[in-house]
């Protein structure tokens, strides 16, 4: 597999039912071949992986055939039957990586930024693009205008949107197979005539046993293959399980006394017990289990689970052989929830066991560092559970706020306010004026007594002044009413007819797109960029009359606002054209010096 080649014995089938043609399946990175054993047959295959869309495989089960189904992009499929499941799995993995590689090659060429060409796209890539266009109508419009209009090539258009494509790709998570949720209980298959009891152990089951029962794992590493063979080991284990299933604790204890290896399986799992103890230590100490005792079915013995085990009083020596169902259930649940922690092929029992031991050790290492965290927790608890009456006041040390000069605040504010009102002259001009206290107060008092004796000045306001004020105010109000763009909540666009609004928005996006491509082409280093820039320039020059058209089409009262909106677009285009012209000039000057046809 590492050298990019895989050869396996397989049968090529047209359907599941037929026996199939026996032969040899050869896989390379690009394609796969099938050669029938009988050279006279014409069922030779030579197919490129590019054409393969996906693969399916049958469930791993002793009663079923090991099948691999390769589906073609144009429909149709290739069905192979393998001699064994490991063979099939190897082929399946190879095919999966080969298909992925083909897809990547397609993508890589599509995204080559220097000289993108319209290459053959992989089906997945194409599908992704189509999906993006379907989801985003704005993008679709832009795509239709620029790509189908011939201004940009397909590859150029998408090269600027690599991120979008990647995002849509990342949405699809890789599928991982979770652990089986059913508990492996020993269902002895006895034939009823002899005393033989058969157990069925698959790699999957062994994996589960190792995950759930660390003691078995440890024993396996210890005994196999030194002390006993793998088969002996599992036989012993099965025997222990069988003894458990009979629920005869006394018999189990008796057996364990005779065989110390068997005792390992029969006794309670020490590692589990210690782990449980460790977990209990990690529980938030403020949690009060007793307070929750009244809840629900907690008061029932064995948490309300049907009582399978007979309650009998055991002598202390049998205590270690007792096993509770809820313990087993909890352990199983914990393992299933944790998911697959090891990444080893299931076939090799020993490597599985070792991998488990490694992860466990790693966990314990982190556990040690958790020691500090634990101490912290204890501290927290003592804080939470403290008796408030006995504590001294815990106020933070208070620093009084001392503000030296509030003028500092003001100066900054006033400068802005004056600026905002737009009459800096009056704000800056210092008032040169000085009167003594007596003079000032006297004149004020005089004015008051003057009015007091003479009454109000008649007439209070002359009609001319009143009219002037009135006109001034109405004008001011009506002008500020239409002072647009100051209020962020209302957009000028909303006041335009919807067709104009859409046109403007579309032009905005297309101009942005064109400009993005335009500026990214500089400096012009190859002929390709040169033609691209020329193409873009032509497209951009066509926008000018269109914008003018929009301006003329709207009614006079909003024309000013439309031209305000169009202004920045024109400016951006003008800047691009100015740069284009300057570049052309520079280029022609250069080519004058160097007549060697440098583009």
């Amino acid at each position: 597999m590492a050298d990019g080649k895989l050869v396996k014995r397989a049968k090529y089938k047209t359907s599941v039912k037929v026996p199939g043609v026996p032969g040899v399946l050869k896989l390379t990175k690009e394609r796969f071949y099938f050669m029938p054993n009988d050279p006279t047959l014409t069922t030779k295959l030579n197919v490129e992986f590019k054409l393969i869309k996906g693969h399916k495989s049958s469930k791993e089960c002793s009663s079923k055939q090991a099948l691999l189904n390769l589906t073609q992009a144009q429909g149709g499929n290739y069905l192979f039957e393998f001699d064994s499941f490991p063979d099939r799995d190897q082929c399946r993995d190879f095919v999966a990586s080969a298909i992925a590689a083909c897809g990547e090659i397609g993508k890589a060429t599509a995204e080559k930024p220097a000289v993108p060409h319209d290459e053959q796209l992989s089906a997945t890539e194409m599908g992704r693009r189509i999906k993006l266009l379907q989801e985003n109508s704005e993008l679709q419009k832009l795509h239709r205008q620029l790509v189908i209009g011939g201004i940009l090539s397909e590859a150029e258009f998408w090269a600027a949107r690599k991120k979008l494509l990647e995002q849509s790709e990342n949405k699809k998570p890789k599928q991982r197979v979770a652990l089986k949720n059913d508990m492996w209980s020993v269902k002895p298959l006895s034939d009823g005539q002899t005393n033989r009891v058969t157990f069925n152990l698959t790699p999957e089951v062994i994996h589960q046993i190792f995950a759930e029962k660390p003691a078995v794992r440890q024993a396996y590493l210890k005994f196999v293959p030194g002390k006993m063979s793998e088969k002996e080991f599992w036989t012993k284990y099965s025997r222990a399980e069988y003894l458990h299933s009979t629920k005869n604790i006394v018999a189990a204890a008796a057996e364990a006394a005779e065989d110390e290896e068997l005792a390992v399986f029969l006794k309670q799992d020490d590692m589990l017990v210690s782990e449980a103890r460790r977990k209990i230590r990690r529980v938030d100490p403020t949690l009060d289990m007793e307070a929750d005792e009244g809840d629900d079915y907690m008061h029932l013995p064995d948490h309300g689970l049907p009582q399978g085990e007979t309650k009998e009083i055991l002598e202390p020596q049998y205590e270690p052989f007792k096993r509770s169902f809820s313990q087993y259930l909890n352990q199983h649940a914990a393992v299933v929830l944790r998911g697959r922690v090891i990444d080893v092929e299931l076939g090799d029992t020993r490597s599985v066991a070792e991998a488990f031991t490694r992860t466990n050790q790693a966990e314990q290492a982190t556990e040690v560092s958790d020691e500090n965290a634990y101490r912290e927790r204890v501290k927290k608890v003592s804080r939470v559970a403290e008796i408030e009456d006995l504590q001294g006041p815990r106020d933070p040390p208070v620093a009084l706020l001392s503000i030296k000069d509030p003028r500092d605040y003001f100066d900054s504010q006033q400068a802005n306010a004056i600026k905002a009102l737009g009459d800096a002259e009056t704000g800056i001009r210092p008032l040169k004026f000085s009167v003594s206290k007596e003079e000032a107060f006297c004149s004020l008092k005089d004015s008051i007594s003057e009015i007091n004796s003479q009454g109000l000045i008649e007439p209070i306001i002359s009609p001319e002044v009143a009219l002037k004020v009135f006109n001034g105010l109405s004008q001011n109000i009506s002008s500020t009413k239409y002072h647009l763009g100051k209020n962020p909540h209302e957009s000028v666009l909303d006041q335009l007819p919807s067709a104009t609004k859409n046109d403007l928005l579309l032009h905005w996006t297309s101009i942005q797109e064109l400009l993005k491509h335009f500026w990214s082409s500089y400096p012009i280093t190859t002929k390709y960029f040169y033609t691209k820039v020329t193409r873009l320039k032509d497209a951009m020059s066509q926008i000018y009359p269109k914008l003018q058209e929009i301006k003329e089409s709207v009614q006079s009262d909003v024309r000013h606002q439309v031209s305000l909106l169009v202004q920045p677009m024109l400016q951006a285009l003008d800047a691009a054209f100015a740069h284009y012209d300057a570049d052309i000039q520079k280029r022609s000057a250069k080519s004058g010096e160097r007549p060697n046809g440098f583009v």
Binding site: D405, Y409, F410, Q413, A420, S434, K445, I460, I461
Partner: protein, 304 residues
Amino acid sequence: MTPVSSKIYADDVSLLMVLVDTNPYFWSSMKNTAFPFPKFISHVLAFLNSILLLNQMNQVVVIATGYNSCDYVFDSSTSSMQRAECLLEKLGDFVDKDESLSQEDSVDGVGFSLLSGSLSMALCCILNQFIGNVSLDLCELLDIQRVFRSGPLHPQPRILCLHGSPDGPGQYVAVMNSIFSAQRSMVPIDSCVIGSQHSAFLQQASYITGGVYLKPQVSDGLFQYLSIVFATDLHSRSFLQLPRPVGVDFRASCFCHKNTIDMGFICSVCLSIFCKHHKKCSTCGSNFGEARKQDPSASDQRRT
């Protein structure tokens, strides 16, 4: 802030707090212009009377904003004061008192009137009105002597500042506090600036509280401005188009260089603004911790 929503009355009843600037230095400077104090007070009195005539439930309270002090000079709810002219007598007394409090002999320029004090007084008065007969200790201290009508129909309060003196920088914090409490109690502050300068305080006050800020272009047409713009009650404002400011630039300037900045550092203690990181706040003297240096993204850089 949206203007105060009206209550269910068909006719809107106003409680108008008018703050009249009586800074003697300012009015001395206006003595020889087209709009001296007698003219001003004539316009104001005519305006106050017209407010009282608009609705018999309307209430007007006038607070004189002096140079050293401020005080109530008129309350339309007291039986002895039915016409606004009655305030002249009290105003004379107030100016006497204000003079006696004066320490220095002359002032450079026109000085600043006590806007923060009169704003606080106005808010206290409104608050007192709202809580009815329960008197506030603070109000008692400030010598508020008024009989407020108690009853289910509270007038809608608003504050009108007739201000001429320039802003007093030393009052900044106090004024801002008053503005924010006015905002909290949903009292709009209208401001009419009669001096030559715009007032940053009042501009912000009106903007924050949803009131109207106006600086009359024609100074001797004050009455016309008052009656067109500032006489409108809060209910009517929801369907009238009143002059609105073009926009207030709330960007701050840094305290160190007085530059207007978009992003800056803010002292977490006193909220002073700086354009670059300092070890110590120059306003309140707080020391900024060194821990921030390790992680510049966690520094107290904020959009202002």
